[in-house]
């Protein structure tokens, strides 16, 4: 029996009002919208039980319910109902199920279940075509369904139809043998498009090229058999670019050990050796996160991931699984770190961009618009972070139309673990393999191999997942707040890309073997084939190694916390990874081959030297308008709409918030104080300059590192207490020129990390951020992201009270610029505003900057500095505006004698020369401050004023900018005002 419970508000519903406004925006005929929450329940219940259920879902203060009866409102012409497709995570329905179970003391078995949907009753003169257009605008066809009914049909049929969107699979128990004794062409095809089903369709990309396929063939020939589908899928997951990072690992040109070993890791090793006792690192590159010492009692971990491809297909689902997924990199770090701060970075195309792109030539599958991606991604991280009770203080937005094909979604999590809880994790032979958390469904099949490919019409829809933060929160609390310190398990890791196939096989390295009984894995619905169970990326799961003697206690604890925990096998030291399904062996591969059997693929690069036209920008006497335009650019503007919807106060650890000063200006750095009774704090920031990449990837990486470090220094961090994380998001990484850029960027990572002695502790790469499809005219088109390197920085502060904020504080305070301003506008925001790129990209003088940063720290420790803002994108001009707006005070400065090079006013104002910080100090501290700074290039350029004006004099000391702060603020906060 299927029953329908409908709930509607008796009083004006803000959610309906918002929908009405949105829909009215797309179609002016929409006059009124009523919103009905619908729960479809598939299970036999008596009427009185249904009434009990409906009452528990209804707030009698303002809502009414109907059971198996249509909701009727005063006037409406159409009903539109949106629901999830079968198998898509439905969190609301899961809660309703819990409520019913608890209320009626019953169970849901077999295909019984609950499904949530939203019914909109819409009034307005709308024909069927218009209503369909509205309906399809409400959904994402990859995860939702939509149903329509005219008022006439709605009344005739007594409401919408009762539909329980269930997954029906019939192919269970199926294990196929894949014949590899075929031609090279056929091998290539299997690797590219996947194993063939009996009906001729393909299962989706394995992303294994011919050399890999041949190695696999050779291995199985030696065993005198062909692989099963599950074996081949499993190898594909483990060897995927996503999991194995082959491009960073394999030889490239003269570098035999590969980019990662030669540049990134070597930098860290050498820095750690050199620093000796000053070494901060406790765990680098091996675990789920990298980590440094916080103080004598605690360790801080950090990890930054990307979730680009899933977010391109379903922005909300992609982003929420991204953030909740990277939380598990903290929970799965060491024996389990508590997530204490989330971090985000979104690279989108201009949200106002109107041009459409299509995945197919027939133009049936259109890409989501940049605006829809932005809205969905912002909402996804909102939901994931806020629901999990993890503050999200730090993040950034970056725009470039080359992100139209594939947006970049960076998500990170900082974790905290007491030293006394930290041990070397090791699954021992005989330990149970235990999966904890969510159940396995079809979601996320081929996520790992898919993200190793360019986005195209063949991209698997199963790659879409929706996160369930509450299931994970229960899991996280049970592990980190209880099981960890009761020492109930020996090892723990995240179930991320590749699902069980990666997490179990990875952990099995610790014991050197495993035996899995796949039928034990709890499923969301029956009928899943073994290979899907093994590689599914269903979320909110962790894999643990639990000693047999501890299992009872562990299991009891998990039951009492409403967390599902299941033994699915045993770790052993057989040297083999064996998977059985109902006692039949379906996979038997030796561990050595699985992890190290992939052949090396040496790469060659081709140097690329770009030269762009120098822009012709007419010189203007007054730069008022230019500065106002600059402040409302997408890459400069306030993104307060995000900062104020991401909870950054939860856990009560906020010290420097995302919006600083009375004027609430987005700073570059946030600080959290994670332990209530310690004055220590953790500062987070980043650097990212994709606009420099096509000019010079070496300098791009240098600027990113310098900025990531300088942003922390400006907030009071000792350069000696900084660690870095790298996230390379490249494009077309089989193109020798792109590889050359990658090599140069990696080289810079080594060089600058060494100079600053800031080790890399963790990193991740995503190498094929390309879109291949069609434009509006049906022409084939390829859009690649600019080579993008995100350097995230993590810094330690001993005394939270020594932190410096960006807002100027008192009239009369002198303003200094530290560092040199040069004619370095190549790739700058100012040139971009003038639709040019230029060539003079900022060059970083690491040794000089380091000295400045050390002096700065000395001054900050003596509390001589009243405000400081790192000069980044948009240059001095933007920094002056931000520091003034934040302090809600005016300032007057002169560029006179600022640059020894005699460059133009506009160039001086907007040059993005690195290594510069703008500071104000108490006038009383002038002498002492200048003394500490004496070996650096610093200059007093003006002072804070008590009026509300920003006055800038040019190189010749004539006024070039004279603006009311209110006016600038309006521009600065206008761009995303209605987001």
């Amino acid at each position: 029996m299927i029953s329908r419970v409908e709930i509607i508000s008796r009083i004006p519903d803000a959610r309906a009002k918002l929908k009405k406004n949105q829909l009215h925006h797309t179609n002016k005929n929409v006059e009124e919208v009523f919103l009905v929450d619908v729960y479809t329940i598939k299970k036999d219940f008596k009427q009185n039980q249904l009434e009990q259920i409906a009452s528990s879902l209804t707030n009698p203060v303002y809502q009414d319910f109907k059971i198996n009866e249509p909701t009727i409102v005063s006037k409406f012409s159409w009903g539109i109902e949106t629901c999830f497709l079968p198998g898509v995570t439905d969190n609301i329905a899961n809660t309703v199920k819990e409520i019913i179970k608890d209320q009626l003391k019953i169970k849901f078995i077999g295909d019984q279940g609950v499904f949530s949907s939203k019914l909109l009753l819409i009034d307005g003169k709308l024909d069927e075509k218009q209503i369909k257009q509205i309906g399809f605008g409400l959904i994402n066809p990859l995860i939702n369904r939509v149903h329509f009914k005219s008022q006439k049909d709605y009344l005739k049929d007594k409401g919408m139809d009762k539909i329980a969107p269930q997954v029906n699979l019939s192919s269970a128990n199926q294990v196929d043998i894949v014949d590899l004794n075929v031609t090279d062409d056929e091998l290539t095809a299997i690797g590219k498009t996947g194993i063939k089903n009996k009906d001729g369709t393909n299962r989706g990309p394995l992303a294994l090229d011919l050399s890999y396929m041949k190695a696999i063939k050779k291995y199985f020939n030696k065993l005198k058999r062909n692989p099963t589908d599950i074996e081949l899928e499993s190898i594909a997951q483990t060897w995927s670019e996503h999991c194995h990072h082959t491009i960073f690992a394999d030889p490239i040109d003269e570098i035999k050990t590969g980019l990662f070993n030669n540049y990134i890791k070597r930098a860290t090793v050498e820095i750690r050796n050199k620093k000796g006792k000053r070494d901060l690192c406790t765990s680098v590159f091996t675990d789920n996160s990298g980590a440094i010492k916080f103080d004598k009692d605690y360790i801080i971990s950090h990890k930054v991931e990307t979730h680009n491809s899933p977010s391109a297909l379903d922005p909300f689902g992609g982003a929420i699984t991204g953030i909740v997924g990277v939380n598990r990199d903290a929970i799965g770090f060491d024996m389990g770190a508590k997530p204490i701060a989330n971090y985000y970075g979104f690279c989108f195309a201009d949200p106002n961009l109107k041009s459409q792109l299509f995945r197919d030539k027939e133009k049936k599958q259109s890409l989501l618009s940049p605006r829809r991606i932005l809205d969905g991604v912002v909402a996804g991280v909102n939901s994931g972070g806020n629901c999990s009770g993890i503050p999200t203080p730090q993040g950034f937005l970056y725009f470039n139309n080359r992100y139209q094909g594939k947006p970049l979604i960076f998500v990170g999590t900082v974790g905290l673990i007491p030293k006394k809880s930290s041990v070397i994790k090791r699954a021992r032979p005989g330990d149970y393999i235990v999966v904890v958390g969510g159940r396995v469904g079809q979601d996320g099949i081929h996520g790992a191999t898919f993200s190793s490919e360019a986005l195209s019409s063949g991209s698997p829809a199963g790659a879409v997942q929706i996160g369930d933060p509450i299931t994970q929160k229960k899991l996280s609390d049970a592990i980190i707040k209880e099981a960890r310190d009761l020492k109930l398990y020996n090892s723990i890791t995240d179930n991320g890309a590749g699902g069980l196939s990666c997490s179990v096989a990875e952990m099995a390295k610790e014991s050197n073997g495993c035996l899995v009984n796949l039928e034990k894995v709890p499923l969301k619905y029956p009928g899943l084939e073994p290979w899907k169970i093994w590689i599914s990326e269903s979320q909110e799961r962790m894999t643990l190694a639990v000693h047999k003697n501890r299992w009872l206690k562990f299991s009891k604890l998990m039951i009492s916390r409403d967390v599902e925990a299941t033994v699915i096998g045993e770790f052993n030291n057989s040297g083999q990874c064996v998977v059985k399904y109902h006692k039949k062996t379906v996979m038997d591969i030796d561990m050595e081959f699985l992890h190290n059997g992939l052949p090396v693929r040496p790469m060659k690069t081709t140097p690329v030297k770009s030269s762009f036209k120098e822009p012709v920008i007419p010189q203007q006497k007054k730069l008022n308008e230019v500065l106002l335009l600059m402040m409302q650019r997408l890459n400069i503007s306030s993104f307060e709409f995000i900062s104020s919807q991401y909870d950054h106060e939860v856990q009560a650890n906020s010290a420097i918030k995302p919006l600083q000063g009375k004027g609430k200006v987005n700073g570059e750095t946030s600080v959290v104080r994670p332990i209530f009774n310690s004055s220590g704090a953790v500062a987070l920031s980043q650097g990212l300059y994709p606009s420099y990449s096509e000019i010079d990837c070496y300098q791009m990486a240098g600027a990113s590192i310098d900025t990531a470090i300088r942003n922390l220094v400006a907030s009071g961090v000792d350069i000696d207490k900084i660690a870095l994380l790298d996230n390379f998001c490249w494009c077309s990484s089989n193109d020798p020129q792109r590889l050359y850029q990658l090599k140069k960027a990696s080289e810079a990572c080594y060089d600058f990390a060494k100079i600053y002695e800031t080790p890399f502790i963790s990193g991740k790469d995503s190498m094929f951020n390309d879109f291949k499809g069609y434009d509006e005219k049906g022409n084939s088109i390829k859009i690649s992201v600019p080579p993008t390197l995100l350097i995230s920085s993590l810094g330690l502060i001993e005394d939270v009270l020594k932190i410096i904020s960006i807002d100027i504080k008192f009239p009369g305070d002198p303003i200094y610029i530290l560092g040199e301003t040069k004619d370095e506008l190549g790739g700058s925001e100012y040139f971009a505003m003038n639709k040019s790129i230029g060539n003079n990209v900022p060059k970083v003088d690491g040794n000089k900057n380091k000295k400045l940063y050390q002096s700065f720290y000395k001054a900050s420790q003596k509390q001589l500095i009243s405000s400081a803002i790192s000069i980044t994108r948009g240059g001095l001009g933007v920094a002056l505006v931000k520091t003034a707006l934040a302090g809600k005070l005016g300032l007057e400065v002169s560029l006179n004698n600022l640059s020894g090079l005699g460059i133009r006013n506009d160039f001086t104002l907007f040059s993005e020369s690195q290594g510069r910080i703008l500071v104000t100090i108490n006038p009383k501290n002038k002498k002492e401050f200048e003394k500490i700074m004496k070996e650096n290039v610093i200059k007093q350029i003006g002072q804070v004023t008590d009026d509300q004006r920003l006055v800038i004099k040019g190189l010749d000391n004539k006024i070039i900018v004279n603006l009311d702060l209110k006016k600038i603020e309006k521009n600065y906060k206008s761009t995303f005002k209605n987001y």
Binding site: I11, A14, R15, L18, S56, L57, N59, P60, V61, Y62, N91, I92, N94, V96, E98, I99, D102, N386, C387, S388, G389, P469, I470, K474, D477, K481, D485, S560, R561, D562, S644, Q645, Y646, D647, E649, V650, Q651, A652, S654, A655, I656, K657, G661, K662, R673, F676, N677, S678, S679, V800, L801, I803, I804, S805, D807, K809, F810, Q863, G887, N922
Partner: protein, 282 residues
């Protein structure tokens, strides 16, 4: 400023069970139960705020309390902290409220009729309203009389706001105005005209937003009490304002104090609410 190093008391229901007997006899500090589980997430800082205020806090998972219902008798204060219980699905505070109602109603109704205190912060306030513990007009504990609806923007909103205290509830002794952070998606207070009239007549509105009304909540209401004024629910988070360095403008204040030679304060304004709760029993 120096931070007193406190011994970290462990969050372990098991420990609690073991310690219970010997603790009871030596009890000096008022004991506070802070509930947890199913997505509540502010239990650590709420407990810490009570301890900073001189109380003795204990975090207890709702399932452990259901198993040992009489545990509740050991406590003087019950705190339901902020969070996202059950993801706010079916309305914030509804599912957690139902769970308490289904399993612990008898114990809770006994608790609230004694001379004890209850506080619900943010999600905890939403739970209190759904449980019918506030406003509970005419002592009808258990009857839902008010609701917290989605913010008018329908968006989760975080930020610091100025509030006026409009009640003489013990929780608010000595506070006239206070600045606190909010962070919620459903904080728009609603009650029918009839109920609202009684709430006002009986002086049950505890605090209101002063100038800006961030969620367009009815009559700027940010928190209410029951008629005994011992049960207090509020949307803002006082535990996120227990330290000086949690204030949004503390770097400015620090510079100001440095220049005037004034000693820097250690605590924030939110702490007083917890002190009031603890002091009620002294």
């Amino acid at each position: 400023m120096s931070f007193p190093r406190r011994r970290e008391s462990r969050h372990q229901a098991l420990d609690l069970l073991l310690q219970r007997d010997d603790k009871q006899t030596t009890m000096i500090k008022p004991k506070i139960i802070v509930l947890s589980g199913y997505g509540l997430n502010c239990e650590d800082e709420t407990k810490y705020a009570f301890e900073l205020a001189g109380g003795q806090g204990q975090i207890i998972h709702i399932n452990d309390l259901i198993k040992n219902k009489n545990l509740l008798n050991d406590f003087q204060i019950m705190a339901i902290p902020g969070g996202f219980a059950y993801g706010d699905d079916t309305g914030s505070g509804n599912a957690y409220g139902l769970k308490l109602r289904n399993h612990l109603w008898e114990n809770i109704s006994k608790f609230v009729t004694k001379d004890k205190l209850v506080i619900g912060i943010c999600n905890g306030f939403q739970v209190l309203v759904n449980l019918g513990l506030v406003p509970a007009l005419n002592k009808k504990y258990g009857e839902r009389q008010a609701a917290l609806l989605p913010n008018e923007s329908t968006r989760y909103t975080t930020g610091w706001f100025d509030l006026k205290i409009t009640s003489d509830a013990p929780w608010l002794t000595g506070i006239k105005e206070i600045s606190l952070p909010i962070a919620h998606g459903e904080g728009k207070f609603f009650a029918s005209n009839e109920i609202l009239k009684q709430i006002n007549n009986k002086n049950l509105v505890a605090l209101k937003y002063s100038n800006i009304n961030p969620t367009e909540t009815l009559e700027h209401i940010a928190g209410i009490t029951d008629e005994s004024k011992r049960i207090f629910g509020l949307m803002p988070h006082p535990e996120r304002a227990m330290f000086f360095t949690q204030l949004p403008n503390w770097p400015y204040l620090k510079e100001k104090y440095l220049r005037s030679g004034t000693k820097l304060p250690e605590f924030g304004p939110g702490l007083q609410i917890f002190k009031n709760g603890v002091n009620y029993f002294k």
